[in-house]
Amino acid sequence: MTRRHAALGLLGLGLVGYPLLDRNNSHVDFLANAGAFILLALGLNIVVGFAGLLDLGYAAFFAIGSYSYAMLASQQFGIHVPFWLMLLIAPVVAALFGLLLGAPTLRLRGDYLAIVTLGFGEIVPQTFLNLSQYTNGPNGISSLDQPSLFGHAFGFSATPYYYVLLGLIALGILAARNLQNSRLGRAWMAIREDELAARHMGINTTATKLAAFALGASFSGLAGVVYAAKLDLVSPDEFGFNVSVLVLSMLVLGGMGNIWGVIVGSFVLSFINSFLLPQSTSLAHAAGFVNVDFTNYRFMLYGVILVTMMLFRPEGLIPSRQRAAEFHEAILDPALAAQEQSEYEGVAR
């Protein structure tokens, strides 16, 4: 345990020190964006990984978080709620929408639930697009309020956002871990394993599933605020189906249900998406291949990664114990099997 703590401490120290060592703002900018997606993945993991509710419209809550900031902290309506206060408000707003989505879908299971969430994921950005008198339609809302801390504005450097996200991710990990090892976390897993049996344990499956939707959504509400403030712009096309799928792919790649797996998965995909592909494209351009754009192959690459994972490691890079066992058909626990065996033999004699 101490070695694990030491490793975590070192990792934390490295992450805190990173912007001081690497003065290249584009690297820090990439890490900050990756941080927002880690937060999203941690939230979706509660819904899909813990409670087993397949949500294909998760980006909707990201949109709701971002638009809450854009509408409540900009010239749009002349309302200027401070960034830090929005970090408290937006998760609550997103959670309320989580309840709104959850309430009518609770009777649905599996594929049917997935289809309804898919619809919700389409409705929300469309609504922001069409309510143009409030949201400026396709142009989106720009010139959002800059966050500031002790009178120092964040400015256009990615570094302050990087630290805010680092802090939020640390809290998110703690929250997810706490939830996993609790009455609520067990109730989620019980529902995932056998909903009928869960009811017989006295678990109110309605309230428990709603809690998963609400808590999962609150994470993306947080991510939305920071992402919007950092980008200084929100527009409806940032929150489409491809974002929902991207976050879900992060879970599949990393290992659904495992907090560290989910973080690794989202980092790897963000790295490919926002760093590897653009960088290799610029390299190619510099080398004279001006017509190539590797970023166009992004979805093909996701597809290849997912198919490869499903073929060779369906439980993800760092799976939870459950998933690993589910995918690699478990044999009887050897120690217990041996015990039973000897007991049977004892009777036979």
């Binding site: 609790s182 009455r183 056998d194 006295g202 109110n204 459950q322």
Partner: protein, 256 residues
């Protein structure tokens, strides 16, 4: 006063009457059994008691209060726990977590306690884990706590389901064919376990096909055939009842 009272309960699925005008009472503190040929409606009775189905007519009272309109989770919280004919454990949760989940209805941790791990929540978790370990020991599974329920041998899974049910401190324990698939030695152990459960003050009501087990453990037997109660009484009396013999073996003249 009876712990459980069914009064004129009927359950029809469309035109099929699964349980017909069933009336019986169960006193607190004993072991009772319900037997009957396949398709007699025994499991339906359990599903009516636990609120999976609502009766088409009639009423069910538990501990002096009606269960009408209550959902399964509320009924569980009132003090009725059960096991299933086809084992329904939480397959990919540890045995210990299965039993701790069984305690759900008796725990007070709110969503925020769970999120923040408040001192109150931690103290409760400690107590519940301790109690779950005791229960695993009670059903002879103290070494299995860390194994996935799925990985346990069949007989152990049946016992784990009983431990999970007991975790809610039920007043009434419903066992749906607890001996199904067990070998003779496991059945003997089960009989002893059911006795220990009764001695701890829990009323046991079981459905079983194994006549030997039923006649051994139960103090009172209700016989169901085609959804109707055809006999009731001590095991010996039921064994000699002509309608029971007829239901199981057919009429002597062969015109069953």
């Amino acid at each position: 006063m009876a712990l459980l009272a069914l009064d004129n309960v009927t359950k029809a699925f469309g035109g099929l009457v699964a349980v017909k005008e069933l009336t019986f009472e169960l006193d607190a503190g004993g072991i009772a059994a319900m037997i009957g040929p396949n398709g007699a409606g025994k499991s339906t009775v359990f599903n009516l008691i636990t609120g999976i189905y609502a009766p088409s007519s009639g009423s069910i009272d538990f501990d002096g209060r009606s269960l009408r309109g209550l959902r399964t989770n509320r009924i569980a919280a009132r003090g009725i726990a059960r096991t299933f004919q086809n084992i329904r454990l939480f397959a990919f949760m540890s045995a210990l977590d299965n039993v701790m989940t069984g305690r759900h209805a008796r725990m007070g941790a709110s969503m925020f306690d769970s999120l923040l791990h408040t001192p109150r929540q931690r103290a409760e978790e400690r107590r519940v884990r301790e109690r779950a370990r005791e229960l695993l020991k009670f059903v002879d599974l103290e070494r299995a706590g860390a194994s996935y329920a799925r990985n346990l041998p069949y007989g152990s899974q049946r016992r784990l389901e009983i431990a999970r049910a007991l975790a809610s401190d039920p007043k009434l324990l419903l066992l749906d064919e607890p001996a199904a698939g067990m070998n003779p030695r496991e059945k003997d152990e089960l009989i002893a376990l059911i006795g220990r459960i009764r001695d701890s003050g829990v009323t046991v009501f079981l459905i079983e096909h194994d006549m030997n087990l039923v006649m051994n453990v139960s103090e009172r037997v209700t016989v169901l055939d085609h959804g109707e109660k055809i006999a009731e009484g001590s095991p010996d009396a039921v064994r000699r009842d002509e309608r029971v013999i007829e239901a199981y073996l057919g009429r002597a003249d062969g015109a069953a």
